[in-house]
Symmetry: C2
Subunit: 369 residues, 2 copies
């Protein structure tokens, strides 16, 4: 399969949903990728099964506060500069790139480099959604090292990190991203083809494209884009259950850029007399949704705020007072719900006191929904 | 010349004075170096004139808040780990190391690595004293690049920085030092022997040793250590004029660790009825001394707070309420007083409104003093 202009637009739509509010708005990543498509033609998408065992696969993406990404634009050279350095460090050519997270702009970020390096992007990612911290990647959960990693910025600075462990890596990389102006590109977790096959979340790129295509077709044919979204999620095999958690208007928003993250909370008031109130807490991504004080969804399950008419996903840095929205929830891929994964990406990893309860149990969704 | 136990103790004493309050207390650096002396014997000190034009000379030292250095101890392996990586990056062996700043613990910091690598330390440094930021080194003032630089921490993490310019380098390195826990070792500004000869501040290591020796002899012989200090400074050829700016007791102290620096001010009340009051402002190093509102010394001239009985230099992180002190000032080496140097290390570089006035003019010291 190859990613052309239409698939790129669908990927941007699907990745925005899977970002769970984070990963950065895909708008700029899409513009950069479109320019590369015009220059180089469609970009290859390779399945995990088709990777050679000893292939070199490098996940990459942006690290930093999405609020900064809206104002501080990429130069378009950061991605390839970081990957070229990775090749020098490892003394071999890269065979394929991979989104470190499928969610948000990061689901599209490797396309620019793929086009310039003449390599395909792998149909897989390291998070199955977006998460705010590097050690929340499945590769860390499975015991692989993030290092060497390479951070690059729009000005041309470059930093190589070889940390003693992945937590130190996140701390150092975050500090570098702040020093680079709040956002940086990072290539990390260099993998063999075999490691990618064993540990990456396979099929997430094509799932995002299918989600975007379903929404596009529903919009074009006058159908319900939300119904099309839920159907596409179910058929993906990765996000088994999904549904609307709340429907209302944003009435309160607190958001600040703190320690390199966009952190805050948003309150949504339901329509009608007894519409209730939903509160979302986020750190780049939406983490927990509470309706009238009752938890309705929690990480690692997906929580995405969408325009209630167009079904456009609204990333946390784009939230505004007065937006009329649906809050949509979806079950995380099964790999993220394993006990050892929850240690890194469950509610406790973000400082919440409540233990993880799957979104289908919190909302009384049956398995067939 | 070789640095043995006695010369090491003298160097620690002299470097503490030249630190102008910063560069970190030499105590730990001295302990680490003593252990190496016991293992490897005396360490060579090589003059700039004796370096081959194409020798590889690597300045190194600690970056971070001195307040942290007192609590977070080095492992002793950081220095050599960073220099070994520098060798790999440049694909050649290091011929000599050099203190990036002679002031404080950083004047001794390269000794551990020199012993382990079996190379000499150069009798020169990059600051002629201590300054808080990397781009304040004479090498940056003279247009040389700080990169590649290598930061290492006690845990074993390692970061390579190749920034677009030296200001970006300082910002990134500072961010890394904070992420590494507030203090990190850094090898930077790799130089050819010829560049070192043309730009480094030559003779500063032997000057520090001579200062320490003079004070030691005065103490041992019942002489005045301050008179011995001033005499040694004059004879160094680098610090032409020096004297006591104030004599009193610390009555107020504000100090915080902010953005990776120790920042604050200290107030000293003179003895006697009309003793007046001296206020020092510091960012790691003492920057400006005011007596009853009148400036008496400013960067790059040296301002060091010393115990008024023992003539021990008191670094800014060791200042305490109630200490009875003499504030000593000394003229900076001539290379730091050139117009282009003052752009980087003069009062304006630290945000002070007053233009630089040499310490001898501010205090009516004649040239022969």
């Amino acid at each position: 399969m190859r990613i052309d202009r239409t698939a790129l637009a669908d990927l941007a739509c699907g990745a925005a949903f899977l970002g769970s509010g984070g990963g950065g708005d895909p708008y700029y990543a899409r513009l950069l990728a479109e320019a590369e498509l015009a220059r180089h033609g469609a970009i290859g998408l390779v399945a995990l099964e088709d990777l050679a065992d000893d292939a070199l696969v490098v996940p990459c993406g942006w690290i930093g506060a999405p609020t900064v990404s809206v104002e501080k634009l990429p130069s378009g050279r950061e991605t390839v500069a970081g990957l070229r350095r990775m090749e020098r460090i490892l003394d071999r050519r890269i065979d394929a790139v991979m989104p470190v997270e499928i969610g948000g702009g990061n689901g599209l970020a490797p396309l620019t480099a793929a086009a310039q390096l003449g390599v395909p992007m792998v149909d897989a990612d390291g998070m199955g959604r977006a998460f705010p911290e590097s050690q929340m990647a499945i590769f860390n959960i499975r015991g692989l090292s993030a290092c060497p990693s390479v951070l690059t910025d729009a000005g041309g600075s470059l930093v190589v990190v070889e940390s003693v462990d992945n937590l130190a890596h996140e701390r150092i990389a975050r500090g570098v991203s702040v020093a680079m102006g709040g956002i940086a590109h990072m290539a990390e977790y260099p993998l063999s083809g075999r490691q990618a096959r064993e540990h990456a979340i396979g099929g997430s790129v094509s799932a995002a494209i299918a989600i975007g295509a379903a929404v596009r077709r529903a919009r074009g044919g006058g159908g319900d884009p939300f119904a099309a979204l839920f159907d596409a999620l179910r058929r993906s095999g990765l996000y088994a259950r999904a549904g609307v958690l709340f429907d209302g208007k944003i009435v309160d928003l607190e958001r600040e850029t703190r320690n390199g993250f966009s952190v805050g909370r948003v309150a949504i008031e339901g329509f009608g007399e007894d519409g209730g109130r939903m509160l979302l807490e986020f750190q780049n991504e939406n983490l927990v949704a509470r309706r009238d004080g009752q938890v309705r969804a929690m990480v690692p399950d997906l929580i995405t705020v969408m325009d209630r008419e167009t079904a456009d996903s609204i990333t946390t840095e784009r939230l505004k007072y007065g937006q009329r929205v649906k809050v949509v929830g979806a079950a995380a891929p099964p790999m993220l719900r394993e006990a050892r994964a929850l240690d890194f990406v469950g509610p406790a990893a973000f400082g919440f006191a409540e233990g993880y309860v799957p979104i289908e149990a919190l909302n009384g969704w049956d398995a067939g929904r």
